[in-house]
Amino acid sequence: MATTETNPPKLHADNQQPLPTHPARRNGRWSGYRHLLWVRIIELRREPEVVFWVFIFPLLLAAGLGIAFRNKPADITSVVVIEGAGAQKTLAMLQTASEKASFDKSAPDKSSSAHSTIRATVLDRDSALKAFHFGKFDLAIESNPDGSYTYYYDPARPESVLSRVEIDATLQSVAGRKDAIQTSSQSSSEPGSRYIDFLIPGLLGMNLMNSGMWGVGFALVEMRQRKLLKRFVATPMRRSDFLLALTSSRLVLMVIEVGLLLGFGVLVFHMRVQGWRSVLSVLLLASLGAVTFGGVGLLTACRAQKIESVSGLINLVMMPMWIFSGVFFSYQKFPAIAHPFIKALPLTALNDALRATILEGASLSSQSGRLLVLAIWGGVSFILALRWFRWT
């Protein structure tokens, strides 16, 4: 029934032009890479959320924490005196000492003030102990009928321990104890040793981790879910160019992140960066960090199909580092037996290296161990990610 005469007119046999029909321009080897990188950056720029989380949020965090944990001029020791026979006398003794301390503080050399202000209150036994247990007071003092004192303190609270020593010394010296030896103290709260100085490099490291993991891992899975990855591999695009562009877009952002956060620390908190060599080292370190976490992000996202599942994975990977890697507080607080494990984490290596470079002006060559940890994490992640990667 089919005949050779059923030649569909749609073939347009009369209208022939050889392919290609348009003046072709030739694209160079790196044209795809350049476009992918450029597109990635303008896409990020058009995403207000990204701008907020990558650039603004770390600054807000630094500002908030820097203010909350700023070095207070002098700690106020807050104590409660339990109502009883000797209570008023005790109060008077503490007030004498406190006045003396404030007098000292008004002296030209503030740093010589050894005493801190004592704020004392008298309460009945029950409410005094209750308030102490709730943390309203650092110490409860009870004067016994025989003229001795009982201190209630909490050994788990550093300020309570401190307060006991301080109050004891105060009471003893007011009661007439003479110091056996003469001592003098020099206080030190120079830029470089404050909490904000500790915090900013940690935030920088955390930010590099966050944006590396989300910027690479999340972005990849999102593109996979949208079938955009599949669409890309249906073109002659080099797959390595794509991954390279995704990672190197992180480097561009990294320069901005580092600049903003360090600049903020310097301008607002008068942080001191140890010389220009150090700035260069910080940039190199941050690049290594950005690429390393780009690799870890790539590995995390190499097979996930849904953004929900990759979000969970990314949080799972980052969680231990938030806790252990010394972002907000030093990991020295963890038992020493955990330190080798903690130091093997990439964020620990990055944070330690950033702190040493920014705060102490340490050279990169002196921290080859930390650089090696970063390089191994990054390198192994990249290799595994490329082996397991799923484009469709």
Partner: protein
């Protein structure tokens, strides 16, 4: 490894011996003018067809057989349609041909090359629009086209593409703000920007309004006019009929019929369909017909088949459909038969036979049913 030098498709390969072992041989397309077409395009006859595949099979997870032994040969300059219901295996087939899925068994050759050996080169020669790709919403139309252009070694200028696909006005609009039709045109634009020789389109017009569909058809025809080969999947009959030079009807992972649209309709046995409903005239026949069951009614279908010029009969609910070569012979006889049986005609219409009829004939199902 990536080869830098671009080869012409005809510079290579002896005839890959894909003999036309197909059972639908009669409908195979080899016309003198198609051969002339190929010569003038520079594809001499020694060269493999733009697309051929033999005995493709695809099994997912060792269980689901999506494609079960499918062979195709598509000639240069053809618009070839894979037609079938959802889940028939169209998308799996087209993605295997596009080199995006590996077949469980079987062979694919594009211009005589295999995907394994010449992937990068083949990618330069083909343009693809996937069934669903959500392009980046925060890029504008021009940026998207430029991005895809940058992957090809000799792309067409973005302005050309924008103009051809009537997207010039939208060049600076974000992809997220485009209408469905515009998005689909952009998807085709990203397929055309590499200046391909073959265009693969997976359900290019699904969900589009009639005007956007027609616009896309024009674009596909224009590509064909310049000598390009098109493979598209669709579940729209009218699209297949109007656009495709040749069709394969796919069901359950197999080709159940192949040929030009008119071949296939011809194979149905008639170009016209007469549809009618009758009701029993109770006063004439008393209670005799009340207990009639379906079997008896189906027996009755033979009665309609014996009418002049009727090729086949089928029943759809209350309606009886006759495939008819010459309605002017059938209809008077039909009216007489109805009257003589004491029935009353409730509805009568005639129309051109469509691929839908072919599909129902072949599978007993409608195309849009699942």
């Amino acid at each position: 490894m990536a080869r830098r030098k671009r080869q012409r498709p005809d510079a290579n390969v002896g005839t890959s011996a894909l003999k036309q072992s197909h059972t639908n041989g009669g409908a195979r397309f080899t016309t003198p003018s198609a051969a002339r077409n190929r010569r003038e395009l520079g594809y001499n006859l020694r060269v493999g067809s733009p697309i051929q595949c033999t005995n493709l099979r695809k099994t997912y997870d060792g269980k689901v057989e999506a494609v079960r032994g499918l062979s195709l040969q598509i000639e240069a300059g053809q618009c070839f349609g894979l037609l079938g219901p959802n889940g028939a295996g169209k998308t799996t087939t087209i993605e295997i041909l596009e080199g995006l899925l590996a077949p469980t068994s079987g062979e694919v050759r594009i211009f005589g090359h295999t995907w394994k050996e010449n992937e990068r080169q083949l990618r330069e020669w083909i343009g693809i629009s996937l069934q669903e790709t959500r392009l980046s919403e925060k890029l504008n139309v021009r940026e998207t086209i430029e991005l895809f252009a940058s992957f090809y070694s000799e792309p067409r200028p973005a302005d050309d593409i924008l103009e051809q696909l009537e997207l010039t006005e939208k060049a600076d609009a974000w992809v997220g703000k485009l209408s469905g039709g515009q998005k689909q045109r952009l998807a085709v634009a990203t397929a055309l920007v590499g200046n391909p020789r073959i265009l693969f389109l997976d359900e290019p017009t699904t969900g589009l309004d009639p005007q956007s569909r027609r616009q896309l058809w024009e674009i596909i025809r224009a590509f064909q006019k310049k000598g390009g080969t098109v493979l598209l999947t669709t579940h729209y009959m009218d699209e297949a009929e109007r656009l495709c030079d040749r069709l394969a009807i796919v069901d359950h992972g197999q080709i159940i019929a192949e040929g030009t649209p008119s071949d296939l309709i011809e194979r149905l046995g008639g170009h016209h369909v007469v549809e009618f409903q009758v009701s029993k005239n109770v006063s004439n026949n008393g209670n005799a017909h009340h207990d009639r069951n379906e079997d008896e009614e189906d027996d009755n279908l033979d009665h309609w088949r014996s009418l002049p010029s009727v090729e086949s009969v089928r029943r759809e609910d209350a309606t009886i459909c006759l495939s008819v070569r010459e309605p002017h012979l059938t209809i008077p006889a039909l009216l007489d038969a109805v009257t003589s049986q004491g029935h009353q005609l409730e509805h009568l219409s005639t129309r051109q036979a469509s691929l839908e009829d072919v599909f129902v004939q072949l599978t007993g199902r409608h195309l849009r049913e699942d």
